[in-house]
């Protein structure tokens, strides 16, 4: 028997999970925890579907029905590939942007994959070297650093800005959420609110809300 509609929505397929993480990543100012297992299982699924298509195509007597089936499976594979690519690229963008900060911050390192860590390290080294050889080496010693923290000025190392507001869509009952100004908020599923990323972070990591 088919389950009632609301239960269907509760059960998230791996693809729906990835779509949620994709949009979260796109809207969050910080790098979110990596979803290695989810990504691996979906990539594996893409590979299996593509192999199945190859196999079906090899058969000489394909009916019109089979043609459409193959076409639909391929269409879906392309859709999923697009989402995977966009998700990975979003992370890559943030990793390059915060490369120097990542290298000095163990907390953020724990959130990213080994490959992403290696990329951040290479990227930070390369830009450092480039700046050094092109400009910094010919400047006086006091001006030749890339990590000064002068007073009244933003630090030189780009850091994620957690005060950036994000649109939050509650997936479950959550609350009360306490805000720095003393107010608090209870959210019911479906509730939409604009709040600083710092206030939404814990809820987001628990999967109670999504960013939209």
């Amino acid at each position: 028997m088919a389950p009632p509609p609301h239960e269907l929505e509760d059960e998230e397929t791996p693809l729906q999970k990835l779509m949620r993480h994709w949009m979260n990543e796109r809207h969050a100012p910080d790098i979110l925890p990596a979803q290695e297992e989810l990504l691996a299982s979906l990539l594996d699924h893409i590979r299996r579907q593509s192999e199945a298509v190859q196999l079906l195509r090899g058969e000489p007597s394909t009916s019109e029905e089979d043609h459409i089936r193959i076409m639909l499976v391929q269409t879906e594979v392309e859709r999923v590939k697009f989402i995977v690519r966009s998700y990975v690229r979003t992370r890559l963008f943030k990793i390059e942007k915060f490369a120097r900060f990542i290298m000095t911050n163990p907390e953020i390192q724990a959130r990213i994959t080994t490959a992403e860590r290696a990329h951040a390290s290479r990227h930070a080294n390369l830009t450092d070297k480039h700046f050094h050889f092109s400009v910094l080496q010919s400047l006086p010693e006091t001006q030749s650093h890339l990590d000064d923290t002068p007073i009244f000025m933003p630090p030189m190392v780009t850091q994620p800005d957690e005060s950036v507001p994000v649109f939050v869509h509650a997936l479950r009952e959550c609350g009360p959420i306490n805000f720095p100004d003393g107010s608090s908020l209870n959210m019911t599923p479906g509730y939409i609110s604009l709040m600083p990323f710092a206030s939404a972070k814990a809820l987001l990591n628990r999967g109670d809300v999504e960013l939209v």
């Binding site: 579907q49 029905e65 459409i68 939409i192 609110s193 604009l194």
Partner: protein, 183 residues
């Protein structure tokens, strides 16, 4: 760059359509198909003239090949939307609509206007709805403050439209505020 500047602040409407197209919809297939395993789940079997539930992207694909008729979702009809529009113009809050109604209605009206009763009238109502809601969100902006801003029944496409402006405004309000003693 790994992410083009145009994609850094917001999602694009086409990306939102892609997400919305994962929702299921009822079709009347015109071809038969065995139950088939897809990445997002198993769909089928398709047995004309029995109805079947498939994702919107699949329905659109089949429709473009004239292999199915699409059944409008429960909210995509003149009665339902006209009632919402009346609410929208008489009451202060946003009326309750499906979160991705804008994306879904656009996709369906583009591909299958012949399957949806009163498609032309629906377009008018949807446009009026959109304008009424836009006016409200602009008025609502006056109440924005630095802490938290609730937008009950605001929809996906609307959020995307106002995102850059709302986010920037709230960031400025945050900057203007200083903790006592922080000066």
């Amino acid at each position: 760059m790994s992410l083009p500047p145009s994609l850094r602040t917001s999602a694009t409407p086409t990306e939102l359509e892609l997400i919305a197209s994962q929702q299921l919809i009822e079709i009347i297939p015109l071809i038969a198909m065995e139950k088939t395993a897809f990445i997002s789940g198993a769909y089928g079997p398709l047995r004309p003239p029995h109805r079947a539930k498939v994702p919107i992207w699949m329905a659109v694909n089949l429709k473009l090949k004239k292999k199915c008729h699409i059944m409008a979702p429960y909210w995509l009809n003149t009665e339902f939307l006209q009632a919402r529009l009346n609410e929208e113009t008489t009451e202060s809050g946003f009326s309750r609509l499906p979160f991705r109604f804008s994306e879904v209605s656009k996709v369906l009206l583009d591909v299958a206007p012949d399957d949806i009763p009163d498609a032309d009238k629906l377009r008018y109502i949807l446009k009026d709805l959109r304008e009424a809601r836009q006016a409200k969100s602009r008025e609502g902006l006056a109440n924005l403050d630095r802490g938290e801003f609730s937008l009950p029944n605001f929809c996906s496409m609307e959020i995307n439209e106002v995102r850059p402006f709302f986010i920037r405004s709230m960031a400025i309000l945050q900057q203007l505020y200083r903790e006592p003693g922080e000066t």
